[in-house]
């Protein structure tokens, strides 16, 4: 990777916009995704994540700005770009009338792959995703976790250089999520560029080298998970359950930044350990917790806590 710093980005978006009628779903965003990383897009419902990635995989025309994928303009080279991308959409788009193997064969034809290549690659992918036992099963007979794995496996049939995953683990049980994460990490090690959207901060923290936090069509922050935590919340957070007025007053005088949620008080203290000891000494220590800040803290701080529905 050394000396590769100026390599052409896989995705280059400049002042990208997407309008639906008068509503700006994506409102003037610019970002690059370098080759070989896992890039995350986080944001509440309606933030513009799916609209953005749909433009990247040529599903939605862009409204304004420029978008280059593999150095090619999406507006003139969309077919060539789509041939080099693998997409796993949010919803189950498998063919329910077909078997697992037939799903690969049918999908491979959309990429003009011949039947033999399709079957060979499908067998490799089925092994990789631990689905080989189910290759003759109907797509409707698969569990939720298997459906997801098959969707991703199918998205790899054209040996894409960029894999796009729209909420790949939503609705999966913990075992399935972890299994999927391991596969994605393995793909990343093989040099695949991955773009994913997710609502799960632990997923983003584990998989993403770099990420965007979006809301209302705009980019709020960008960086690695650790850098975002350092920049926005600091390393530690003291969380106090049911704080009383005396504790609130004490916390205010400490000078640390805080967020009062009523039944819960969050203190973003740079000298967290010291303040925590102080707090525990003066007040009931069983209601105070000192914990590491997470991406979720950053996310909630940037996008707010009100419901988006």
């Amino acid at each position: 990777m050394n000396g590769n710093m100026k390599a052409r980005p896989v995705i280059a978006a400049r002042n990208l916009k997407k309008y639906f009628g008068g509503f700006a779903a994506v409102d003037d965003i610019s970002f690059d995704v370098p080759k070989g990383i896992c890039f995350g897009m986080l944001g509440p419902n309606g933030a513009g994540k799916t609209s953005t990635i749909r433009m990247i995989y040529g599903f939605s025309p862009i409204s304004a700005g420029t978008l280059f994928v593999f150095g090619q303009d999406i507006q003139t080279r969309v077919r060539q770009i789509k041939a080099r991308i693998g997409v796993c959409q949010q919803e189950n788009t498998l063919d329910p009338d077909l078997t697992v193997m037939q799903n690969f064969e049918v999908f491979a034809r959309y990429f003009n792959l011949n039947a033999r290549t399709a079957r060979e690659r499908a067998m490799d992918l089925l092994r990789f995703f631990a689905l080989e036992q189910r290759r003759s099963a109907r797509a409707t007979e698969l569990s939720g976790g298997m459906v997801r794995r098959l969707m991703i496996a199918r998205a790899l049939i054209n040996e894409p250089e960029l894999l796009i995953l729209d909420e790949p683990t939503t609705g999966l049980d913990p075992q399935s999520r972890h299994q999927l994460w391991e596969r994605l990490e393995s793909l990343k090690r093989q040099g695949m560029t991955i773009l994913l959207t997710t609502h799960y901060m632990d997923e983003a923290a584990r998989l993403c080298d770099d990420l965007l936090i979006m809301d209302r069509g705009k980019i709020l922050a960008r960086g690695s998970p650790q850098a975002l935590i350092s920049a926005h919340t600091g390393e530690n957070i003291i969380e106090v359950a049911e704080p009383d007025d005396a504790l609130r007053e004490f916390a205010r005088r400490s000078g640390a930044r805080q967020e009062d949620l009523g039944h819960r008080l969050l203190i973003y203290a740079e000298n967290g350990h010291e303040l925590y000891r102080d707090l525990c000494g003066r007040f009931r220590h069983d209601t105070c917790v000192l914990r590491s800040a997470t991406l979720e803290d950053v996310f909630l701080q940037l996008t707010g806590r009100e419901l988006r529905e």
Binding site: A83, T93, V106
Partner: protein
């Protein structure tokens, strides 16, 4: 984004063929049994009531009169139902088109593949029905063979029309409307079970602009061994109908698919 249509649309067509192949035994049943039922009901059950029908100046038996119309109705139904209910299920419930849109395929190719598939189902149905009515001696060869390509043209016409509705309806139940307003009246009054000349003049005019009337005329001419002006008029009408409806179908569906 201006989209051209490449031969890739055939991969969409082949997808539907793969699914059709999974249950071909069931799929073969309707075109095999339907003409048998109709011929039994109208040919045997009705024969006491109707001696024959005057068609093109000659008296023909009632089964011989309706047999080519049954083929035409089957062409209409196969394509129309495939590209309304069938395509809608793939688009809306199964998200098949969404998956395709993430591949090098574009919307125009997806829609073309769907319409060509609908026309193919019309063609398959026609081959089966033609075999059945030929067994009963109700088709004259070699012109009757031309019913096979005619089925594809007719299927393409009705499939394009169906796709326009698919591009517009919000829910699948709304297809009842075009079925009730277009398909059923055509089925009854398109020169199928009695000559359109039996209708009042105004209704004859209405019938003369409906596509099934022309498909029935074409089918009947070919089944009677008469490849002449009537057959050519039917072909010409269907070709123009396709030339208008197919671009409209592409337009409506692109608006629906491209978000």
């Amino acid at each position: 984004m201006k989209e051209g249509i490449s031969w890739r649309f055939l991969s969409v067509w082949r997808r539907n063929l793969s699914v059709y192949g999974e249950s071909w035994k069931v799929n073969f049943m309707p075109p095999l049994l339907e003409p048998l039922f109709y011929l039994l009901a109208f040919g045997v059950g009705f024969s006491g009531l109707i001696s024959g029908v005057r068609y093109a100046g000659v008296e023909v038996s009632y089964p011989r009169f309706i047999a080519p119309a049954l083929v035409a109705i089957n062409i209409m139904n196969n394509a129309f139902f495939e590209n309304t209910y069938g395509s809608f299920v793939r688009m809306y419930y199964q998200k098949t088109f969404d998956a395709m849109m993430a591949t090098p395929l574009n919307a125009a190719e997806i829609i073309t593949g769907e319409i060509v598939w609908g026309a193919t189902k019309s063609l398959i149905g026609t081959v089966i029905m033609l075999t059945v009515i030929s067994v009963f001696g109700l088709a004259s060869y070699p012109t009757a063979l031309l019913m096979v390509p005619a089925a594809f043209l007719g299927g393409f016409a009705f499939g394009s029309l169906a796709m326009i509705f698919t591009g517009m309806v919000k829910t699948i139940e709304l297809f009842n409307l075009p079925v009730f307003l277009f398909i059923t009246p055509m089925f009854l009054f398109g020169g199928t079970f009695f000559p359109t000349e039996n209708l009042p003049l105004w209704a004859q005019h209405v019938a003369s602009v409906l596509p099934l009337t022309h498909l029935v005329n074409l089918s009947r001419a070919l089944a009677f061994g008469r490849f002449g002006g009537e057959a050519l008029a039917g072909l010409g009408y269907l070709a123009v109908f396709c030339a208008v409806m197919y671009p409209l179908a592409l337009y409506r569906m692109r608006r629906r698919l491209i978000k």
